[in-house]
């Protein structure tokens, strides 16, 4: 049976849509009516069937279209995928992780056959059937990190752990919310988070780093992050800011439902066995307002969160220009009635 993959675009004509069953599946990130940073990390364990947590690495109906968009981004700008020389071993760790998880969760679509270090990987949705030697880069068309992340949804940052800190020394970053891998590669945990307002004063990063450096094999963790995007555009990179930035000024009361998207990142943290590094997948989910407000609880809650969001956060998340229009539009769906606790729709 398996997943029916959509044919859709994340640029130009923006034909991206969520099928109806995927709307309730959406990882709505707010479990109360307001938002502030917290170290909201929890163990990454399998969740309910029909949710984005039904497998630890989630493949959904947008898989094929996302991989096509990634290929376009990389053709335009190869600097979106970089690996410092010492990170190749970690790249092999990631290749093993993603192949195992995707084959485990979606056996109709992916198969991994291992015989010693001779591996065969079959990816039916993308028409790939490759046999290679694990650990030998010359037997793959790309380095191991690039090879597998061209076949996995979301961005991936591989962090080297040294001197009690984490260093972003490799990554595939094509679906990011406005940060540049080419600029940030080589930075440590505090440095790459430097532009985030307020959080440093609260000691959030110090606590988070302490937790992350102690993550062990077999015990991944996860958290959610969120922002908003105009049009279902995955590539909202600073490199292309002059291409997508102007969209923020095109929001009108008539087009909020179609254009304004909630963008949620399911981030996870896994210890990599051979390199002792940490991989940080950033899995991106998009939903437009028209789809989101089919769940009345979410409509009311989102209205309150965006309306009351502190100014610095709204600025950092890039909402300033269209926030009033969005809040006005959502307010019509908020009768003030209480929202049930928890993230899920009613």
């Amino acid at each position: 049976m398996g997943i029916t993959f959509r044919k859709e675009t994340f640029r130009d004509d923006y034909t991206f849509r969520n099928s109806p069953e995927y709307i309730r599946r959406f990882p709505f990130p707010f479990n109360e009516d307001s938002y502030m940073y917290a170290v909201n990390i929890e163990p990454h364990v399998v969740g309910p069937k029909g949710s984005v947590l039904e497998n630890l690495i989630d493949v959904d109906e947008h898989y094929v279209a996302e991989m096509e968009d990634r290929a376009l981004v990389l053709a335009e700008d190869p600097l979106r995928c970089q690996s410092l020389p010492h990170m190749t071993l970690a790249g092999w760790d990631l290749l093993e992780l993603l192949m195992e998880q995707q084959a485990l969760g979606y056996p109709e679509h992916f198969t991994l056959e291992r015989s010693g270090d001779r591996w065969r990987w079959i990816n039916r949705p993308l028409g790939i059937d490759d046999t290679f030697t694990f650990g030998d880069t010359s037997t793959l068309p790309y380095g191991p990190m690039e090879y597998i992340t061209r076949q996995s949804q979301g961005d991936f940052c591989i962090l080297d752990q040294r001197d009690g800190n984490l260093w972003m020394d490799a990554g595939m970053v094509t679906t990011q919310a406005d940060w540049s891998l080419d600029f940030d590669i080589g930075m440590n945990f505090f440095e790459w988070h430097a532009p985030v307002p307020l959080a440093h004063e609260k000691g959030i990063f110090t606590r988070a780093l302490k937790f992350l450096t102690n993550i062990q094999q077999g015990k991944p963790a996860r958290r959610l992050n969120w922002t908003m995007t105009i049009n279902p555009r995955l590539d909202t990179s600073p490199e292309n800011y002059h291409k997508w930035g102007p969209d923020r000024a095109t929001v009108t009361p008539e087009n909020v439902g179609q254009k304004v998207h909630l963008r949620v990142e399911l981030q996870s943290f896994w210890r990599l066995p051979r390199s002792n590094g940490i991989v940080f997948p950033i899995r991106c989910y998009l939903i437009k307002m028209d789809e989101l407000v089919t769940q009345p609880k979410w409509a009311r809650r989102l209205h309150r969160v965006i309306r009351d969001l502190p100014e610095e956060l709204a600025t950092y998340k890039g909402l300033t220009r269209y926030r009033p229009t969005l809040v006005e539009w959502l307010s019509k769906l908020d009768d003030g009635s209480p929202t049930s606790p928890g993230f899920g729709p009613d």
Binding site: S180, F183, I185, G186, H193, A194, Y241, P246
Partner: protein
């Protein structure tokens, strides 16, 4: 003195003599004074094992003060680019135990550090002291071109011509601050340029 702003913005210290026998100093303009100031705290014989590489800039100030230190070597160079091949050779042949000291403009410190990082030296191991001009090297995040000697906010990218916000977000690897298009959302907004990095 460079003001502290965000965490990725480098914070420079004050040069202090490190243990070991071999010391390499790279400095430009007023950075020479950081070296002579440090000399007062150095143990006897410290400069016997020191090599100083200095870019004086126009006017040739401070050369005499450095000569007075009687270091094992003193090399005067007209520019960073001209001293780079020699620096790479020094680093290739050097042994563990060589300590590195960088002083002067941020651009000099950043570029010298880049060469040292490539040679396998951890940035934490190097001493740095900022002196003199605060002009910045800036990488345009859009076209990747680096613009030297940026003193205004905002600033024009010397390669693609976009008007860029000069952020405090700094990359050691690129030895440059990040420049992002300041008026992408509304090209008609043209904030006035102010000289803020003297």
């Amino acid at each position: 003195m460079a003001a502290k702003s965000i965490i990725s913005r480098p914070v420079y210290g004050t040069l202090s003599p490190q243990p070991g026998k071999h010391h390499l100093f790279i400095a430009d303009a007023e950075g020479a004074l950081a070296i002579t100031d440090m000399a007062g705290k150095a143990p006897p014989g410290f400069f016997d094992g020191a090599e100083i590489v200095f870019i004086p800039g126009p006017g040739g100030k401070h050369i005499a003060a450095l000569e007075a230190l009687k270091s094992a070597q003193l090399h005067i160079a007209p520019s960073f680019a001209s001293l780079l091949p020699r620096l790479k050779q020094t680093l290739t042949n050097a042994h563990m135990g060589l300590r590195i000291y960088l002083a002067g403009t941020e651009g000099l410190i950043g570029q010298a550090m880049q060469a040292a990082l490539e040679a396998g030296i951890d940035h934490v191991s190097m001493q740095t002291e900022q002196r003199g001009s605060l002009a910045r090297r800036m990488q345009c995040v859009h076209c990747k071109g680096i613009t030297e000697n940026v003193t205004t906010q905002p600033a024009l990218c010397a390669h693609c011509g976009l008007l860029l916000l000069v952020r405090d977000h700094y990359s050691r690897r690129l030895a440059a601050f990040q420049g992002v298009c300041i008026n992408a959302e509304d090209r008609s907004e043209i904030p006035p340029m102010e000289e803020i990095f003297p």
